[in-house]
């Protein structure tokens, strides 16, 4: 490593735009030439605390359609912030090209450097290279699409009334978790194209609409209903379908075109955020690892003074703090802590492996080039597979992991299933990986059946795993929303793995 000295990037806590530029250039230089990162162009936006609160309330996006729930989140964050219970995030970064990062004006120069290294380098690289983001999101198109969505919703409100649009959006939001495709489709989503297609669809519909067709006596309204088997009909409808919003958009009998369009928009946005949920540990781990490396290199070369480096270390330590299970602050694994620890551990395995590591990770142990290995991991894994393959016994011992088995049927208490020893490693690793698999965490609900020529009753199945049912009150309300969109009765059956129906709820449109 070169030890070329550099001039300090800044003095004290003050910064101006020239400082930001210098810091960014220094970070980018290290990121590209030494860590080999591949970045979208960066766009840094300096904002105030209030604007940060604004951004919080609409899931971090700089523009969004109007909806009361964002007002609620804003109000909530504001209340918490005002009472001083919680500081604001130092930054928000958006998976777009150019990659937009919001920096708070209150941050000190060191914090800005940390944030630039974290968001503009770490997250940026991850967004651009991870396969989930490449497959599922369209970084070039997202901002345009959001702006289109906002205008579209505003236009609908003008034409059809705020109340109706709000009802549709409420229902769509309730089903957002069931609005993603979990497996890649035929082609990459292109949000710009999406917007153009929407316009064309509507224009075509309007051009070809002729009310006279309705009055032409039909020869035969339902062509040989008995000719098609029930199985075939289900296949034509694409059943079973786990993307409920998609199913509604395509098949709900009484939705108006604009309502379908709104469902589609909510679905697209849900899909855009889906990769983020699957890569929390990796994404934050990557960004934290990158900022740690960059800040250390900057410090070594004199770009950051000793005092400022201490400030950095303090923030860094807070970020990767992991309380133990019996600590009152404990609320599950901290993705920053787990991700960073794993990245560092992989670096260790690649550069200075022990005998155990060679056994567990023969492909990477001792290969020497940590960055090459990490870049490959960042590109090709998500949390579940990442933990499932790269959580090492060393780290499990270091974090003193153990696995509990909580079965309400056993009245004595909770059993400790595995601890950090030879017998436990694989079980712990499997359990931890599974708890980071959204396919496993999210309830598995799908549209199972519907008879469109009959009573049009929509039947949903929730495949219950380990006896974990849905929360009663919430499920009922979501079902009500669903029934309102579907316009006919809806039934939700919670089915155990052996096929017994544990619970059944039905709901009629209001």
């Amino acid at each position: 490593m070169t030890t070329a000295r550099m001039a300090p990037l800044y003095e004290g806590a003050e910064w101006d735009f020239a400082t930001l530029q210098r810091i960014h250039d220094a970070c980018a230089d290290i990121a590209v030439s030494e860590l080999g990162l591949d970045l979208y162009p960066n766009q840094i936006e300096v904002i105030t605390a209030e604007q940060m609160l604004d951004a919080y309330s609409s899931t971090g996006m700089p523009l969004f359609y109007k909806h009361w729930s964002f007002g609620k989140h804003f109000t909530q964050h504001e209340a918490v912030y005002r009472r001083g219970l919680q500081g604001l995030a130092y930054e928000i970064v958006i998976n777009s090209s150019p990659c937009i990062s919001f920096l708070m004006e209150e941050n000190t120069a060191t914090m800005q450097a940390l944030v630039i290294a974290h968001a503009c380098m770490g997250h940026n690289h991850f967004f651009k290279n991870n396969y989930l983001f490449r497959q599922w999101t369209n970084a070039e198109g997202i901002l345009d699409y959001l702006s289109f969505a906002r205008n579209y919703v505003a236009r609908c409100e003008e034409r059809y009334g705020q109340a109706r649009v709000e009802r549709t959006l409420d229902a769509a939001h309730a089903l957002m978790g069931q609005g993603v495709h979990r497996y890649p489709g035929k082609k990459k989503p292109d949000l710009r194209d999406e917007e153009r297609r929407e316009r064309e669809r509507r224009a075509y519909d309007e051009q070809n609409f002729n009310d006279l067709w309705r009055t032409v006596p039909g020869s035969d309204t339902s062509p040989a209903p008995s000719g098609i088997s029930a199985e075939r009909k289900r296949a034509l409808l694409g059943l079973p379908q786990e993307n409920i919003l998609y199913f509604l958009e395509k098949s709900a009998p009484r939705l108006e075109p604009w309502q379908r369009e709104i469902l589609r928009m909510v679905r697209q946005i849900a899909q855009y955020f889906y990769p983020q949920r699957q890569t929390k540990v990796m994404n934050e781990g990557t960004a934290t690892y990158v900022h740690y490396r960059i800040m250390n290199i900057l410090h070594e070369r004199g770009g950051i003074s000793d005092g400022n480096f201490m400030e950095f270390l303090q923030s860094h330590t807070n970020v990767i703090f992991q309380p133990a299970y019996d600590d009152p602050r404990f609320s599950g694994f901290n993705p920053y802590a787990l991700g960073f620890a794993m990245m560092r551990d992989i670096e260790r395995i690649v550069t200075t492996p022990e005998e155990e590591d060679r056994q567990w990770f023969p492909e990477i142990a001792g290969t020497g080039d940590a960055m090459a290995v990490l870049r490959d991991i960042w590109a090709n894994y998500r949390d579940e597979s990442f933990i499932g393959q790269f959580l090492s016994p060393h780290l499990m011992r270091q974090m003193r992991m153990f696995q509990i088995h909580d079965d309400p049927g056993v009245s004595e208490g909770i059993r400790i299933d595995a601890i950090q020893n030879e017998r436990g490693y694989r079980r712990i690793r499997r359990a931890l990986a599974r708890s980071h698999d959204v396919g496993w965490i999210d309830p598995n609900i799908e549209v199972a059946d519907v008879d469109l020529t009959g009573d049009r009753r929509l039947i949903l199945h929730h495949h219950v795993v380990n006896g974990i049912l849905l929360t009663e009150a919430d499920a009922r309300r979501v079902l009500q929303h669903l029934a309102n969109l579907w316009s006919y009765d809806v039934i939700l059956r919670e089915i155990d793995s052996d096929g017994t129906v544990l619970k059944e709820k039905s709901c009629s449109p209001a």
Binding site: V46, F102, M176, D406, I414, I416, L432, I441, G467
Partner: protein, 426 residues
């Protein structure tokens, strides 16, 4: 890389979303505001503040995994456990911890947030079902009046004082002897009719001289122009005192007191909008009256009979001691369930007619009843009959029976109407 400074962008991007949220949660917010005002002192009513509403009405439902079921979890920090140990459950443990997987949108029982002063007042007034006109009046901020203050020689064209300008121009024209157009016309007619050569020459010279003079002395000169002058002048210090009289004998229920309090609050808001300085005097009475602080007034129980004149007497005494009618606008609001010792009626009537009503701007009598009963169906109480009689005599007195919050407003409307009539008359 580019850096963009967004700090100067208009903030409040979430304002509209926030308003939508408040509209959405209106019923809850209204109830919360009602509860908040019930616990507040009257002078604090105008402050905004933190309110808390149940999260139930504004939740965003999702299909979520519930509690229960078999769970396998990995945790950090094992020090003492070994495989196969069984630890007894603690309350509240046993799963649930991992359901906070996505961003901690955990359900809370109550949802707390701040309302600004404007929002708070809006909702408070909404709850009383005030019509918009009245609301606007209550909320209008007292402008430190811009007053006309004579004329000036400079100003903006918009405030040109045409009449004054023309008047000055005319006096200048008269003073300098500018020929009037009809003089000119007369000369020209004479010239047209004149045959005599010498006379014609004289007339022509005369006309030329007049024309020259008219040109020299313009019809309107810049020095004539006047502008209306305005001056920011603070309104003269106006002060008001508000007497709250209440019967606190055992027959007054909490609901009745709450109604009375609401009326006092409304009157207070109204007075603070009209007057720079408002004082409140609380007088409670049973068979004797005493001046108390607000806490005691609303919340301390007292027992005894009911003698209204004791309160009126106390009010008269306090006016005489502290609030000279020349310096103070005196408002009074009395709340009672209508009971009075029959023998006391005449005393009270005399006090009101001779001593109190002459110095009061406004005296409101509020007869409060239990919720749910039609107040007009109640038989008239002794006090009600007394006040009705006084009103029939033409005394400035507003009386009303109320049983529910929304009925408070009509009492108030009397006050507005009286003001309107006065303003129209003056």
């Amino acid at each position: 890389m580019q850096i963009i400074d967004r700090r100067l962008n208009q903030g409040n991007k979430s304002l509209e979303n926030r308003q939508r949220f408040l509209r959405r949660a209106k019923a809850h917010v209204q109830r919360a505001v009602r509860e908040a005002t019930a616990g507040r002192d009257i002078p604090d009513i105008l402050e905004g503040g933190e309110i808390s509403i149940p999260a139930g009405g504004i939740d965003e439902p999702q299909f979520r995994p519930g509690a229960g079921g078999i769970r396998d979890e990995v945790m950090p920090g094992n020090r003492t456990f070994s495989e196969g140990d069984v630890i007894p459950r603690r309350d509240g443990e046993g799963g649930g911890a991992n359901s906070a997987g996505d961003g901690g949108e955990a359900t809370e029982d109550a949802f707390r947030f701040m309302l600004s002063r404007e929002e708070f007042l809006d909702i408070f007034l909404d709850d009383l079902e005030l019509p918009d006109l009245a609301k606007r009046k209550l909320k209008e901020v007292a402008t430190e009046g811009v007053r006309r203050a004579g004329y000036s020689v400079s100003g903006s064209p918009a405030s040109l004082a045409v009449t004054r300008t023309m008047r000055i121009a005319m006096s200048r024209r008269i003073a300098l002897g500018r020929p009037a157009p009809h003089e000119m016309e007369a000369l020209q007619e004479e010239l047209a009719a004149c045959e005599d050569e010498g006379r014609r020459a004289f007339l022509e010279a005369e006309i030329a001289a007049l024309a020259a003079k008219m040109r020299r002395i313009p019809y309107i000169d810049p020095i004539d122009i006047r502008y209306r002058r305005f001056e920011n002048r603070p309104k003269p210090m106006a002060q008001a005192v508000m007497f709250c009289l209440m019967d606190v004998s055992g027959s007054m229920s909490e609901h009745m007191k709450d109604l009375a309090k609401r009326f006092y609050m409304l009157l207070y808001i109204f007075l603070t909008r009209r007057y720079n300085h408002v004082e409140i005097v609380f007088i409670r009475h049973t068979d004797r009256a005493e001046e108390v602080d607000e806490q005691t007034f609303f919340y301390n129980p007292a027992t005894g009979g009911t003698v209204v004149s004791s309160a009126l007497e106390a009010m008269r005494r306090i006016i005489a001691e502290r609030y000279r009618p020349q310096d103070w606008n005196i408002y009074a609001a009395q709340a009672s369930d209508g009971d009075n010792f029959p023998s006391d009626n005449e005393v009270a009537a005399r006090l009101l007619r001779d001593e109190i009503l002459p110095v009061c701007q406004y005296f409101a009598y509020l007869e409060v009843g239990e919720a749910g009963r039609d107040p007009s169906a109640r038989p008239d109480s002794t006090l009600w009959r007394l006040y009705e009689r006084l009103r029939a005599e033409g005394q400035p007195l507003a009386t009303r029976k109320v049983g529910a919050r929304a009925e408070i407003y009509p009492v108030f409307r009397d006050l507005f109407q009286r003001r309107e009539a006065e303003r129209a008359g003056s």
